[in-house]
């Protein structure tokens, strides 16, 4: 039941750590690239700017460490901007490259509803993959979102939500997971998602 939280300065690491502990995890919180490269289970939090978050990963070589861990078969959960970083690119400031672990682009919301999205929104998980991190979560359960950008119809999408049109709320490709919402702010449903991730073997 161990997990390693990547201690990004562009993240709300303390909140994520508290929620993970409440979900039964024993945590290492680190900025050490070697430690990250060897970790069996990683959590990549992130809030605010995709560009700043990616810049930090590059500067610290933690981007390579994450790729190495995933190549070795580690589990990885990206949260909010951490989820966005899994993709190829974001158009937050022109096109910025992400970790490229998942195919797809992150784009800004446009439409009648105000941007950023701030609040609860219903998440529809795809039925066949229901047993993963959404195990025990009822269809259309609301989770808490704060985002101006999102992936749309990503190839690895396992859950979607609708805000100015459908967007990708969660992804999974083998052992790499991402959630656009904030599980640490989504009360019981959020803690359940974290517990499911912690329980992944």
């Amino acid at each position: 039941m161990n997990a390693t939280v990547i201690d990004s300065p562009v993240a709300n690491t303390a909140n994520i750590a508290r929620a993970l502990r409440a979900s039964g995890a024993e945590l290492q919180i680190t900025r050490d690239a070697d430690e990250i490269a060897r970790a069996p289970k990683l959590v990549l939090p992130g809030v605010g700017s995709f560009v700043a978050a990616m810049q930090w990963l590059r500067d610290t070589r933690i981007d390579d460490a994450i790729r190495e861990a995933v190549a070795r078969g580690a589990f990885l959960l990206g949260i909010c901007v951490g989820h966005q970083l899994l993709f190829d690119t974001s158009d937050e400031m022109e096109a910025t490259c992400g970790l490229g672990l998942l195919r797809g682009a992150v784009r800004r919301f446009e439409g009648a509803l105000p941007v950023p999205q701030i609040g609860w929104n219903r998440v529809s998980a795809r039925a066949p993959l229901f047993d993963g991190i959404f195990d025990g979560i009822a269809p259309e359960t609301p989770f808490y979102f704060v985002n101006s950008y999102a992936a749309r119809g990503a190839g690895d999408e396992i859950a979607s939500a609708d805000y100015n049109g459908p967007f990708t709320a969660a992804v999974q490709r083998e052992r790499v997971f991402g959630v656009q919402f904030h599980p640490e702010k989504s009360s019981k449903a959020g803690l359940r998602v974290l517990r499911n991730f912690i329980a992944c073997k």
Partner: protein, 491 residues
């Protein structure tokens, strides 16, 4: 639900009357020019009233209606239709549907004949109501027929849709009569076209949520550009299931929860951490913590309280009270707040909003506005409602949105602690001109108040303090009620 622009015609031009009074007529120009200006999409339904005909009892603007029907619009025409011949005149002009008012309630036999002649789909009965009584003949006469009887007849004829206007609301921009449409929901299966008072996008969304409203006629609000037709249609097309939020508020002083009436007569009410945990358990979507000691005291206690509350819950936490500088803002975020509400300091230095939005993101910035009624508008107040400013509250909220506030926490100083209900007029004045969300605060006393703040006030979240703290109502009570009323909430 269909949005139906409405044009009232008089002397070949588009006009608007207030409360049906011809003396108040205001002219907006030729119908074609108005349609172009409103950007009415092709194939849209258009509601046209021949005002002179409604007075004189014979079709007048037939040429105009013929021109409009040629513009790829589904035109429904009303005004003084009293016979099969009148109806045929309009249908020959290209009208798709005939709206009959006086006939619908005064001449049940003629209504039957019209349905037999033209088919139930082409007849739209119009029922105009004031204070629960049907009015006819250009609203000048009280009808002897009851609403229940009229709708029973309409339903028996197989008519699917009826236009219902609350006369007191028409042209007054005070919001539609949700109570009337809700009352009709339990009375008839006939779907309603709501008319009168629709003036915000939120009005349209709330009407759609009622379930028995299939269309809404909008006149004045479109003509006066309070509402953009395309934007309204786009908003209706977005999902209507995004949960509205119920937010308990902890007013904290020196590390204890307190509650005052109109910001005075403060009494002790408990431990913030215990309260916060209970509220999350009850289903609170978010917590607001307002530090009412921060204005005069040291910040250390406050930060400690924020830290311990933030550590005890897994829902978003907004903290406000005494935030003066960017550093105060940062300190509260570091202590575990997700969002910070600014009030007095932002009024004195509006740039604080822009700076914090740049530094911490729009989502972190909440403008707290304590508004006090002053005649027909509201003024922003500072120092917890104790000191009036010269700043118009609605204008100030709009400016805060431009500067980068992510949401507005709007408190009615007049209603706070009174349990008399939220100030719906204040809410409408602010939500009607903003795109960002408004949290309604001040005055909650009954479950219906929360519904009204969202439905009629246009709030995206509802907040209460003492009501929840004193266990008059639980968060769960409010959410169950809202859900039963068709307002989406997180269960």
């Amino acid at each position: 639900m269909q949005v139906i622009p409405s044009l009232d015609l008089l002397g070949g031009r588009v006009v608007r009357l207030t409360h049906g009074d011809f003396a108040t007529a205001r002219t907006y120009g030729e119908p074609e020019a108005v349609l172009d200006a409103l950007d009415v999409p092709r194939g849209a339904r258009l509601h046209v009233v021949d005002l002179e005909a409604s007075r004189s009892g014979r079709p007048i603007e037939t040429d105009l209606v013929r021109r409009l029907a040629l513009r790829d619009l589904v035109v429904q025409v009303g005004g003084g239709i009293r016979s099969v011949d009148d109806a045929r005149r309009w249908i020959d002009c290209g009208a798709e549907r005939i709206v009959v008012g006086t006939v619908a309630s005064e001449s049940p036999r003629l209504l039957s004949t019209l349905v037999e002649t033209f088919g139930a789909k082409r007849i739209v009965p119009a029922v105009d109501v004031r204070d629960g009584v049907i009015r006819t003949n250009g609203w000048e006469h009280e009808s002897a027929a009851t609403i229940a009887n009229v709708f029973a007849h309409i339903e028996s004829l197989g008519i699917a849709e009826a236009l219902v206007t609350d006369i007191a609301r028409d042209g007054a921009l005070r919001g539609p009569s949700f109570a009337l449409y809700r009352q009709l929901r339990s009375m008839t299966r006939v779907k309603l076209i709501a008319s009168g008072g629709v003036s915000t996008i939120s009005d349209v969304v709330s009407l759609a949520r009622l379930g028995n409203v299939s269309g809404c006629v909008i006149g004045k609000a479109l003509l006066e550009r309070r509402l953009d037709l395309r934007e309204t249609i786009a908003r209706l097309a977005t999902p209507n299931a995004i949960p509205e939020r119920v937010i308990p508020c902890l007013d904290v002083r020196d590390g204890r929860v307190v509650k005052g009436v109109s910001f005075t007569n403060i009494r002790d009410a408990g431990d913030p951490v215990e309260c916060a945990m209970r509220y999350e358990e009850e289903g609170a979507d978010e917590l607001v913590m307002l530090d009412i000691s921060a204005t005069d005291r040291a910040q250390a206690t406050t930060l400690e309280t924020v830290r311990s509350v933030a550590e005890s819950i897994f829902i978003p936490l907004t903290v406000g009270g005494g935030v003066r500088t960017v550093e105060d803002f940062r300190g509260l975020l570091r202590a575990g707040a997700d969002r910070v509400a600014v009030n007095t300091a932002a009024l004195r230095n509006p740039e604080l909003i822009a700076t914090c939005a740049r530094e911490f993101g729009v989502q972190a910035v909440v403008l707290s506005c304590d508004a006090k009624r002053d005649g027909d508008h509201w003024l922003a107040t500072v120092r917890g409602g104790k000191e009036l400013t010269a700043v118009d509250a609605a204008t100030w909220c709009q400016r805060a949105e431009t500067l980068g506030a992510g949401e507005i926490l709007l408190t009615s100083v007049d209603r706070d602690g009174t349990n008399q209900g939220f100030d719906l007029e204040l809410l409408r004045a602010v939500t009607g001109i903003l795109k960002i969300g408004v949290i309604a605060s001040g005055g909650a006393g009954r479950v219906e108040d929360f519904r009204d703040a969202i439905e009629s006030g246009g709030a995206r979240a509802v907040l209460a303090a003492s009501l929840f703290h004193d266990r008059v109502l639980s968060v769960a009570d409010v959410k169950h009620y809202l859900m039963a009323e068709g307002i989406p909430v997180r269960s």
